[in-house]
């Protein structure tokens, strides 16, 4: 009677507090929502950091503004993602085997779509066919389009020339294409062409990075915040909150740089780190090689190298190895490498112990963009009631470390357990 009710209440209380303390967080709430919660916990939108140098850096570079407007929300259509989901195929552009994790997200059935008698032309504008991450983005987009015979996807690489991408979009507007999917390198210059396309009645979907357009039909994004945050949380976990660090970042003004670096700083901002230097390495391996090599010459006490991408991180690792300084952190300790982007080479280096941690950001999103574009066309042609949401969040992904760890309630993934790496095998 009373005892059993008390026992029941205690049991319920235990379960609830278990949930609240995050012990069951991953399995109950899902990794996406759990990371969102951690993001909110660590946000410095309304408070300053305790490390005044880091706070100064954070404010001067305006991270707060970018982070505030970055969406942190639930997935569309109540989609729940777990490691292991997704389709396997050979990438049509790169020829490499791919397991695309999100092929069931925002689904569009295989076969002819929309009006089966009509041929639809969709433009896919991106940069960097020579960059493994970007090629994989194209892979998934082209694969998705190949599932629908009445869709022709035109893929154009603008080689990081923003003006050229704008011209490409203008050309598609003149040819009255049915939809445009793009990967913008920088936000500012891509706003005007996207606005022009929208005004011409063409739906536009951006992938991964954002444009400065407020009228864009949909943006597929979301993982940057969790990336940077996990890099910071991992670092706190292994160093106990102190160390000398350098940063190899993506171009200033790009979403990837602002959100990842900002989130990283938010996670470490209350601790005793010393920021020695910060570089922008254009996502290029050779540039990160040069900047890291320069930094090694200028500082002999580097302990941590933070990288906002895999290519940068590998370039930095090459530079450190060439200089023979892998274990040159004070006390003869190994320099800690933090990376984003789960390229096969990077994940392999984690397995070998050269890179400590990789926070995945899968490029295998192109398919989502094409499916969102198809749904927009459907809405435009009256074949669907509602268009897809303006912000299509991609599932947050847990970090990869050599051995399994639990950090702030996140259960990390080991290289052997992660099937989604992109790019050529090392």
């Amino acid at each position: 009677m009373n005892i059993s009710r008390t026992l029941a209440r205690t049991a319920v209380g235990l379960v609830v507090s278990g949930l609240a303390s995050g012990v069951f967080a991953e399995t109950e709430v899902g990794i996406h929502t759990h990371l969102n919660n951690l993001i909110k916990e660590n946000s410095h939108a309304s408070r300053t950091m305790q490390n005044s140098d880091l706070d100064d850096f954070y404010s001067r570079q305006g991270f707060r503004d970018y982070l505030e407007t970055y969406p942190v929300a639930e997935l569309t259509g109540d989609f729940v993602w777990e490691v292991g989901m997704g389709k396997e195929y050979i990438g049509p552009v790169s020829g490499l085997p791919i397991k695309a994790p999100f092929s069931e997200y925002l689904p569009v059935p295989e076969g002819p779509v929309l009006n089966p008698d009509k041929q639809y032309r969709i433009g896919f504008a991106y940069h960097g066919a020579n960059h493994p991450w970007l090629v994989s983005l194209a892979d998934t987009a082209v694969h998705e389009a190949s599932l629908h015979p009445n869709i022709r996807l035109e893929v154009i690489d603008s080689e990081f020339d923003d003006n050229q991408m704008g011209q490409v979009i203008d050309n598609w507007i003149a040819q009255q294409y049915d939809a445009i999917v793009l990967w913008p390198s920088r936000e500012a210059p891509m706003g005007p062409p996207v606005d022009r396309a929208i005004r011409a009645g063409i739906p536009v979907v951006s992938l991964d990075r954002r444009t400065s357009s407020t009228q864009i039909s949909s943006e597929v994004l979301g993982n940057f915040y969790a990336n940077g945050l996990q890099q910071g949380l991992y670092l706190n976990h292994v160093t106990g909150g102190k160390g000398n660090l350098i940063m190899n970042r993506k171009p200033l003004g790009s979403t990837a740089d602002s959100i990842r670096t900002g989130a990283f700083l938010e996670a470490i901002g209350d601790y005793d780190y010393n920021l020695l230097d910060s570089f922008h390495t254009d996502s290029q391996r050779s540039v990160a090689f040069d900047t890291t090599r320069n930094a090694l010459q200028a500082h002999d006490d580097i302990e941590i190298v933070f990288n906002t991408g895999a290519d940068e991180g590998l370039g930095a690792l090459d530079a450190v190895r060439e200089a023979g300084r892998l274990n040159s952190a004070p006390g003869g300790k190994k320099i800690v490498f933090l990376l984003n982007d789960d390229s096969r080479e990077a994940v392999e280096e984690v397995r070998l112990g050269n890179i400590e941690m990789v926070s995945p950001y899968t490029p295998l999103l192109g398919g989502i963009g094409v499916r969102a574009a198809i749904r927009h066309i459907a809405h435009k042609e009256g074949l669907a009631d509602a268009p897809p949401p303006k912000q299509i969040l991609t599932p947050n992904l847990p970090m990869i470390t050599r051995e399994k760890m639990v950090i702030n309630g996140i259960e990390t993934i080991t290289p052997a357990e992660w099937p989604y790496s992109f790019g050529p095998a090392p």
Binding site: D65, D157, F160, D161, D162, N171, A188, P189, G253, H280
Partner: protein, 351 residues
């Protein structure tokens, strides 16, 4: 070079007809009008292969794509006419608006008002921006000219150094990030069209006409062509070579600045890495148009033809779905082949 091609230099000289065979005469005319013919051929190809070639939207795109590089080409043609070269135009194109934004922002800071919203959105006076940019272009051109004429540094090296230096300055002044330029007049410049003709093209045509008139009918032209034709004779004849060469560089700088304003107004932003490699496009336009690297030859009309032909070719390739790799391939081949043919024709006609 046949006398025919030097007609613009000395309009008082009769074009000599030496009783050559009709074949040679035809080749001479061909050489003169190759570009127009090429353009017509391209138009025919474009119309027959794409439904969208002759549309007003495509037409507008073509004119707009052409404008900025053509203004740069117009600028460099002045320098080429005096037998020099300028590699710094593309960097100047970005440097001029950057200096404008930086200067106005500094001034605003001193006078305690704000021209920046959200850290990097510039809302200051567009008029001031344009004026400062143009002055900057002229100043940089003047520096180039001083280095070449007083420092006696080869133009290639001087402008190469300027190009690299300005690129570094662009990154330094912008702090590596973009400035949004969304003030209404500025964006109006980038978006406005009249009967499908973009403002940037109209500005280009106006500049071309002014340049063409001054080169053909005024002292400016006579001086520049004479220096390009034979610098020593010109100096002996009392021409102030230093003054006029520096003037050519200044004109190039001013035109680069104007190109930069139109360029950034289209993108509604200015950013240090923009415009990389545009100097080569500009030189290609000029050279294909017939502006000689040796100096003393060329006109804004030629530059226009060169720009038109190349841009139309690239436009057709785009409509066919060929990306920048094929376009650069085409550009490379066209540059080499056109000049090779041109040289062959010249050697024939002078034999």
């Amino acid at each position: 070079m046949s006398t025919h091609d030097k007609a613009y230099l000395h309009p008082e000289i009769d074009i000599q007809t030496t009783g050559e065979s009709w074949w040679n005469l035809m080749l001479m005319h061909l050489g003169r009008h190759t570009l127009l013919l090429a353009f017509l051929v391209l138009v025919i190809i474009g119309t027959t292969t794409s439904d969208y070639f002759l549309t007003s939207a495509n037409f507008t795109n073509l004119l707009r794509t052409m404008s900025v590089p053509a203004i740069l080409a117009l600028g460099v043609s002045f320098v080429l006419i005096v037998s020099r070269i300028d590699l710094s135009m593309a960097s100047q194109m970005i440097f001029a608006p950057v200096v404008g934004v930086t200067a106005i922002t500094l001034f605003a800071d001193l006078m305690d008002f704000s021209v920046l919203v959200r850290g990097n959105s510039f809302t200051g006076s567009s008029f001031a921006l344009v004026v400062i940019a143009v002055l900057t272009g002229g100043f940089v051109g003047w520096l180039n000219g001083i280095g070449v004429m007083y420092g006696r540094i080869t133009a290639f090296i001087m402008t190469l150094a300027m190009m690299q230096g300005l690129r570094g300055m662009n990154y330094y002044l912008t702090g590596g990030h973009a400035y949004y330029l969304q003030e209404s007049t500025y964006t109006w410049m980038g978006t406005t069209e009249l009967w499908g003709i973009p403002l940037s093209f109209m500005v280009y045509v106006a500049l071309s006409v002014i340049a063409g008139i001054s080169l053909r009918y005024t002292l400016v032209g006579r001086r520049l062509y004479s220096i390009g034709g034979d610098e020593r004779s010109a100096a002996l004849a009392g021409v102030n070579v230093r003054y006029w060469v520096i003037m050519a560089f200044i004109i190039c700088g001013v035109l680069s600045a104007i190109a930069g304003i139109l360029f950034t107004s289209r993108l509604q932003s200015v950013d240090a890495p923009l415009g990389f490699g545009y100097e080569l496009n500009a030189i290609a336009f000029a050279v294909i148009g017939g502006v000689s690297l040796a100096g003393g030859k060329g006109s804004p009309y030629r530059v226009f033809l060169g720009a038109l032909v190349i841009t139309t070719l690239l436009n057709i390739l785009t409509l066919w779905g060929f990306g920048s790799w094929y376009q650069n391939l085409a550009m490379g081949i066209v540059i080499i082949v056109v000049i090779a043919i041109d040289q062959w024709l010249h050697r024939r006609s002078s034999n």
